[in-house]
């Protein structure tokens, strides 16, 4: 097994598991390819024959609407057959192990697995287990990684800001529980963003987060100064096993993005959010629906980016 389980022996992408350690050439290739797919949506026939005859299995062990739907649309636009499996209500509850499930689906001639799981490393485990003809995409594993979300965020930034090398980017909110934040930090670093800030209360930051090369801020007034890109994170109620915060109202008061706080950033700064949003908790409605928000375009870009990832993987 190589150090990079997501690359094949030729250094090409075999699986997409994390943005950590992903070579910049592959990152750019994904973003460039996605650019070509954005045009497909505007055509008469919103379909491309690349994955015709291939079967893509969406294995979602954790609820998700947006990610699962955009993966499904992406696969269908590439002419693949898509099979959606909500594993929470399936054989897992009958006691089947994860790898037994994968073996059974492989026997049904799956070509690609899109995996969402609440355990970190689930997609890695499947990727190590499957044969060389099967590709695995991590659609979010525990607190670990969510590479396609980070890639669509990179695509969004490039659309609005072009050059990564001059940007000041702030990631704001629940960094501790966020696989999105980790994947964003790795991708931003690889693409050459010189200043990445994380803004959060101490209780929502992982220990020694500075080791990822980010600047840590505990208050919005200092953290948002002169920022070009604001990447909001969702306050993850369902992951809050212990009390990290006094209350969501208190959180909004200090860390919620309001029009007033947004004024601290650059006047042409963009506001992003991976969704689903908690209005009035991490973001004010006026900002979410405002002129600097690119939250809805992000969703559309997510389809193009996922098409790019799938078509590159299936061709390798």
């Amino acid at each position: 097994m190589s150090i990079h389980p997501q690359l094949n022996k030729n250094g090409e992408l075999q699986h997409l598991l994390t943005t950590e350690g992903l070579p910049v050439t592959i990152l750019r290739h994904i973003l460039d390819t996605a650019e070509s797919f954005t045009g497909v949506t505007e055509r008469d026939v919103k379909k491309i024959p690349l994955l015709r005859g291939k079967s893509v299995f969406n294995l979602f062990f954790e609820p998700s609407t947006r990610t699962r739907t955009t993966f499904e649309i992406a696969a269908k636009r590439l002419s693949a057959d898509v099979i959606n499996l909500s594993m929470a209500v399936s054989s897992q509850t009958k006691g089947e192990t994860l790898l037994d499930t994968v073996n059974n689906l492989s026997a049904m001639h799956a070509d690609m697995f899109v995996v969402r799981h609440n355990q970190s490393g689930a997609a890695h485990l499947i990727a190590r287990h499957v044969g060389p003809e099967i590709h695995v995409i991590n659609a979010g594993d525990g607190w670990h990684a969510h590479p396609t979300q980070a890639l669509l965020d990179m695509f969004t930034i490039r659309r609005y800001k072009q050059d990564f090398h001059t940007l000041r980017v702030a990631i704001i909110g629940d960094i501790l529980h966020s696989r999105v934040a980790r994947s964003q930090i790795h991708a931003l670093t690889t693409l050459g963003v010189p200043e990445i800030r994380v803004i959060a209360p101490k209780t929502l930051l992982p220990a020694r987060v500075e080791r990822l090369g980010v600047h840590v801020y505990h208050n919005m007034t200092q953290g948002l100064k002169d920022v070009d890109v604001l990447m909001m994170l969702r306050l993850q109620h369902e992951r809050m096993e212990s009390a990290h915060l006094p209350s969501t109202e208190e959180y909004f008061k200090y860390y919620g993005l309001t029009p007033g706080k947004l004024l601290l950033a650059r006047s042409d700064a963009i506001v992003m959010h991976p969704g689903p949003m908690n209005r009035g908790v991490e973001i004010d409605s006026e900002v979410a629906d405002g002129s600097q928000s690119v939250i809805l375009p992000q969703v559309g870009f997510g389809i193009a980016v996922r098409m790019a990832v799938m078509s590159i993987l299936a061709g390798n």
């Binding site: 460039d32 070509s36 008469d44 024959p49 690349l50 061709g315 390798n316």
Partner: protein
């Protein structure tokens, strides 16, 4: 081997196409060589409809063998494909597989009234029932060679023949 001059072939090709141009004619070039030619033809014939460019990477029939091309460009068809009269332009016509892919892609934009093919060089070797309506030159070349159109910094076009090593 002495190759013909690409600029002279283009002039010849333009004159052949000129006879059939109407106000409904649209020009679509296949990336990259075909796109260079399409822009020149479009300009020379003063075509009113904007020029289109296709990157057929997503429609190639060898995708499952060689994967996705590392540099895919967006296709641009800035006119209504439905009922359009398209002259599809490419530099070299060989197996016909690129043209098959291009026709498939065009139909995903709508149903054209007609598609005709214009190529700078037809080098034979067809593997599909495809023929060009307008041709600059017909050449017979060894199978182990690759004929490519080049564009210099000043826009001047030339043909280049390379031998390819087959595995």
């Amino acid at each position: 081997m002495q190759l013909p001059d690409a600029e002279q072939l283009l002039t010849l090709l333009i004159e052949k196409i000129r006879l059939d141009v109407t106000d409904k004619t649209t020009i679509v070039g296949i990336h990259t060589g075909g796109a260079w030619l399409a822009r020149r033809i479009h300009q020379a014939l003063k075509i009113t409809q904007p020029v289109g460019v296709l990157d057929i990477s997503f429609y190639r029939d060898d995708y499952s063998k060689i994967g996705l091309h590392p540099q895919v460009r967006p296709s641009q068809l800035p006119f209504e494909a439905e009922n359009s009269r398209i002259i599809l332009v490419d530099d070299v016509l060989y197996t016909g597989r690129t043209i098959r892919a291009a026709i498939n892609e065009l139909f995903d934009y709508g149903r054209p009234a007609s598609i005709h093919l214009a190529v700078l060089v037809d080098r034979g070797g067809r593997e599909l029932p495809i023929a060009a309506r307008y041709t600059g030159a017909v050449l017979t070349l060894p199978e182990s060679s690759m004929l490519e159109l080049r564009q210099a910094d000043d826009g001047k076009l030339s043909l280049d023949l390379r031998s390819i090593v087959t595995e």
